[in-house]
């Protein structure tokens, strides 16, 4: 065929020449060396990425929640309600809700160009996240003091699994907040980075509200 009879490499050489020519001039586009540069990835890809990732996170928690419901409602489940329901969970919930508001405020200030305000509220958000985790730890200790451990009863197993897996996700969120704050993402830009972090944070907030109401409902 026509193409088969062409000097095979001609296209390749042509392209390579173009490639090299550009490469020398445009090396600065991609400081990470072996990637052809963040510039080629549109910012919206990061938003898509976090949305898609949250789809997986949602499935993960839905699997746990459906296991919880099936396990609780089956016959001979041996299910006993939690012996104590740590009151501090109410405070934790408030902290996490507040953090969503401070995060939104930080984002608004950033978009308005008020950098110091952004930094302030962003730090507050991270602080609230850390306080939430500390509160969860206190709740764990309260349960442990009452003799309720992971394997005590299915209800406590699920309590610890819910709080631990959600806490890990919050921990990741705090790391992301701090990273945006201190590393100043270059490739995706601050606006996109804060947007991605905010989507994640609000979502994990929502997951907590859902899990919390589930636990609360089971208590009653």
């Amino acid at each position: 065929m026509a193409i088969g009879t062409l000097p095979n490499r001609s296209i390749g050489h042509g392209r390579h020449a173009g490639h090299d020519g550009r490469g020398a001039g445009a090396g600065g586009d991609h400081p990470s060396g072996d990637t052809p540069g963040g510039a080629i990835v549109p910012p919206r890809a990061y938003v898509t990425g976090i949305t898609v990732a949250l789809g997986a996170v949602l499935m993960f928690f839905m699997a746990l929640v459906s296991a919880y419901i099936v396990r609780r409602d089956m016959p001979l489940s041996g299910w006993l309600p939690l012996a104590v329901f740590p009151r501090i969970l109410w405070l934790d919930t408030l902290l996490l809700l507040a953090s969503s508001f401070t995060l939104s405020r930080a984002r608004r200030l950033l978009l308005a160009g008020r950098d110091s305000g952004f930094r302030f509220w962003w730090k507050i958000t991270a602080g609230l996240g850390i306080a939430f985790l500390a509160g969860q730890l206190i709740a764990w200790r309260e349960l442990a003091a009452a003799g309720v451990y992971l394997a005590t009863n299915p209800s406590s197993s699920f309590f610890f699994v819910f709080t631990a897996t959600h806490g890990l996700h919050i921990l990741g969120g705090i790391a992301a907040l701090l990273w945006v704050m201190f590393r100043r993402p270059r490739r995706l830009g601050l606006a996109t980075a804060t947007e991605v972090a905010a989507i994640y944070w609000h979502f994990m907030d929502g997951i907590w509200l859902f899990l919390f109401s589930l636990l609360l409902f089971a208590k009653a």
């Binding site: 065929m1 026509a2 193409i3 062409l6 001609s10 296209i11 042509g14 392209r15 020449a17 173009g18 020519g21 550009r22 001979l76």
Partner: protein, 298 residues
């Protein structure tokens, strides 16, 4: 796009765009041999498969229940339908591979045909869903109805790697079980609690003996991991799940000795976990029960 890039791109476009004048007949070598061989192999596949089924070289063992017969009819119907599709599809491809092999012709530009596609979509929906709806019956008759009141109750307890069958005895009641009392070595594999009067006349045997033409209701349970109860002549299997008691029922209509196997991977002895189903005449069944009660009293 940089001018240089544009230039390269145009070069590439020219290179990639073929320059064969329309109507030139070029032909790839080697396609004839391959197409004939592949068409032949596909036809052979069809021939051998159809022959094996038509000549009943490997028949399923005959069923011993009315519901089993119904399962067999549904099986035959499914076999006819899938068999026809199998023959049509494999031979259709064989024919197309042979007929449209590269002989220097020009392929016909046919990006689709909505009417045809609609037709086979509808055909597939009717065939497959119809088959599924028909298949419901054989399942419903055995599984949707509870066993009749006069059914003979036998409890099947499976454990690594044995079957045990418990008959409730003359009182018709199964006695209490306590997993802490389980001790196969002292003859109490189920953990029967002798403090319960209902337990004292319970008979536990390693084989299942049932009278012919009576409905048998099995209560299937497991002591440890998931097992299964399968008798191929009954066309019936059901898992034995620890923590659950699952009820199935059947009415054998033929005397005989049939093998019971476990089909759910249950540990290293899975392969040797089996027992027998003895379908006997009513009088023999009574004799079996009497003998067991006698043995119990001794």
């Amino acid at each position: 796009m940089s001018p240089a890039g544009r230039h390269v791109y145009l070069d590439a476009a020219r290179d990639l765009c073929p320059r064969i004048p329309a109507g030139t007949r070029r032909r790839e070598r080697g396609s004839t041999f391959a197409s004939v061989l592949l068409a032949l192999l596909l036809s052979l596949l069809v021939l051998i498969t159809v022959w094996i089924f038509a000549a009943r070289v490997f028949p399923a063992p005959s069923s011993i229940t009315a519901i089993g017969d119904q399962v067999d009819r549904q099986y035959a119907l499914t076999l006819w339908i899938t068999g026809a599709i199998f023959v049509l599809a494999q031979l259709g491809f064989a024919w197309a591979i042979l007929r449209f092999r590269d002989r220097g012709q020009r392929a016909r530009f046919v990006p689709g045909n909505s009417r045809l596609e609609f037709a086979w979509t509808v055909a597939a929906i009717i065939l497959f869903l119809g088959l599924g709806v028909l298949g419901r019956r054989a399942w419903a008759e055995s599984r949707f109805t509870p066993p009749s009141a006069g059914a003979i109750q036998v409890e099947v307890t499976e454990s690594q790697f044995v079957f045990n069958f418990r008959y409730p005895g003359p009182d018709g009641k199964f006695g209490r079980l306590d997993p802490r009392l389980i001790s196969p070595s002292t003859g109490n594999p189920l953990g029967l609690d002798d403090n319960d009067p209902a337990a004292r006349d319970d008979v536990v045997v390693p084989q299942l003996t049932v009278p012919v033409n009576r409905q048998i209701a099995l209560l299937i349970r497991s002591q440890d991991v998931v097992h299964n109860f399968f008798v191929r002549e009954l066309r019936l299997q059901e898992d034995a799940v620890p923590g659950m008691i699952i009820s199935v029922h059947f009415t054998p209509d033929r005397l005989g000795r049939y093998e019971i196997v476990c089909t759910q991977l249950c540990g290293l002895g899975h392969y040797r976990m089996h027992s027998y189903l003895n379908v006997v005449a009513a009088s023999d069944y009574q004799a079996f029960l009497n003998q067991q009660q006698q043995a119990l009293r001794q």
